[in-house]
């Protein structure tokens, strides 16, 4: 029975892939040859930064633990859940806090939505750190990957700043004092400390202006920055010859 079903669905997919509509959308028929499989990658705007071929050793779980991929996947689900949360959020004090209460008691699945976003954000910080250390221990920063390592460090900073700006948005005691502690550190900067903190907070203390600034940074500026840097990062992985395959992997072969 199930064998029949899978056979029928396979036949249906095969028919679909050969239709004019499918070909017009994907610019190719079924990917049965290596030529059409290559077209599937570089003929697609959303995949063209991937390599057409990857080394088998680079695909093994141990080569990367998929930490870079996982960081990016977390970024994607954070955008999705973040946009949903934006529908229920006003960056104003104390309305922001009331929105948190609404998410908990009024909005359908509001608790789940916020839990998901927060958990994914924490995991992303962990994943990006882990990814960096893993790349370091594999020697993935060695030439010709030097500049991509630098882009990676910038992405780590953007990730931390994204998480930090998101921390203030619930506007509860936890958020307020965490940001107060953090922003007090900035004022220790020589000469420009007070000015830099004023620029970040839009005032001398964490208040409504700080909430608005963190909201704009968190929802617009930093995600765009991260997206741009991720683009460069992925593109350079491909241009610099794929993941680093080190001597250990070579030895395993024999």
């Amino acid at each position: 029975m199930s064998a029949n079903v899978s056979k029928t669905s396979e036949a249906a997919m095969q028919w679909l892939r050969n239709t004019r509509v499918w070909k017009s959308i994907f610019r190719r028929g079924p990917a049965y040859t290596n030529r059409t499989r290559s077209l599937a990658i570089f003929g697609n705007l959303f995949l063209h930064w991937l390599p057409v071929k990857v080394r088998e050793k680079a695909l093994r779980v141990r080569a990367s633990y998929y930490l870079g991929s996982i960081s990016f996947h977390l970024f994607l689900v954070l955008i999705a859940t973040g946009v949903l949360l934006m529908f229920y959020y006003h960056p104003a004090a104390p309305q922001a806090y009331r929105d948190m209460k609404d998410l908990r008691f009024v909005v359908s699945n509001g608790v789940f939505l916020r839990n998901f976003h927060r958990l994914a954000a924490q995991l992303m910080v962990v994943a990006v750190f882990w990814h960096m250390f893993h790349v370091f221990y594999r020697g993935g920063y060695r030439p010709p990957h030097e500049f991509n390592w630098v882009v990676g460090v910038l992405l780590l900073l953007v990730t931390l700043f994204l998480s930090y700006t998101g921390y203030l948005l619930p506007w509860d005691q936890l958020a307020f004092w965490a940001i107060t502690v953090g922003s007090n550190i900035i004022s220790a900067m020589p000469f420009v400390g007070k000015k830099a903190r004023f620029l970040l907070l839009g005032g001398n203390v964490v208040g409504e202006n700080a909430l608005l600034r963190f909201y704009v940074l968190h929802c617009v500026i930093l995600p765009l920055l991260a997206l741009g840097l991720v683009g460069v990062h992925f593109w350079r992985v491909q241009k610099d010859g794929g993941l680093t395959v080190n001597k250990k992997d070579e030895r395993e072969e024999r």
């Binding site: 071929k53 996947h73 104390p94 916020r114 839990n115 005691q173």
Partner: protein, 237 residues
């Protein structure tokens, strides 16, 4: 074509309107050969994309399951007049906050983080991080002397500031380095592993260990007035 000095020199065209021609010279002495072997390759479609999709789905399911049961915290409305004790930064900055307890804000809050970020950025541009030569491969005594000097200076510096939570992991790592110096070649797998580590490996591992200890201490072992508390006795938990 640029002016050629003699007739065997290759010329480089700079005229954008002309199509350059490529000429390959095959001499009799050298036979054709393949340089470097990348090993077995697979098509990214479907092999890479399928794995990415599976990773994405496993991750998504895991987050959904945890998010169903683990609620994000929400405390009282923000109140500038009511300072909690201790007021803690997000967990990934608690290592820095722990440093702030020992060092002046300029050092702990600005200089150390800036140095860390700069050190991370310049890693690939220094040959000491590129050449995979073990620390104890050559000049063993000289390297040991240098290492002990750095360890003592660092220890005294941290001791003056009474930065115990930095000092203890640093000394522990120092003991490991000395141990790796004393390890005989091929004694067992673990000792052999320690013996063949590079300088950059040791520095990065020291950094990670210290950062982990600081973050864990800052998260779980610090109470009112940043005093030391045991997490199982703390009140707020």
């Amino acid at each position: 074509m640029s002016e050629k000095k003699d007739k065997y020199e290759a010329g480089f065209g700079s005229d954008a309107l002309k199509n350059p021609q490529r000429v390959v010279f095959v001499t009799k002495k050298v036979s054709a050969k393949v340089k470097g072997d990348v090993g077995k390759q697979l098509m990214a479609y479907p092999h890479l994309l399928l794995r990415e999709a599976i990773a994405f789905q496993v991750l998504g399911i895991a987050i959904v399951i945890v998010a169903l049961f683990w609620d994000a915290p929400l405390e009282q409305l923000a109140n500038p007049l009511l300072t909690p004790n201790p007021a803690k930064a997000p967990w990934y900055f608690l290592g820095l906050q722990e440093l702030l307890h020992y060092f002046p804000p300029l050092v702990a809050g600005i200089i150390i983080p800036t140095l860390v970020v700069m050190a991370l950025i310049v890693i690939p541009y220094f040959n000491v991080n590129i050449q995979p030569e073990p620390l104890w491969e050559k000049n063993r005594t000289k390297h040991l002397r240098e290492f002990l000097f750095v360890l003592v200076v660092l220890g005294v510096f941290l001791g003056i500031f009474k930065a115990w939570t930095v000092l203890v992991p640093t000394l522990a790592m120092g003991v490991l380095v000395v141990f790796s110096y004393l390890a005989a070649p091929g004694a067992n797998r673990w000792r052999e592993f320690m013996r063949t580590r590079t300088v950059s490996w040791w520095v990065m591992t020291w950094f990670i260990v210290v950062a982990l200890v600081l973050t864990i201490v800052g998260t779980f072992f610090r109470g009112p007035g940043w005093s030391w508390v045991w997490p199982w006795r703390a009140h707020g938990f």
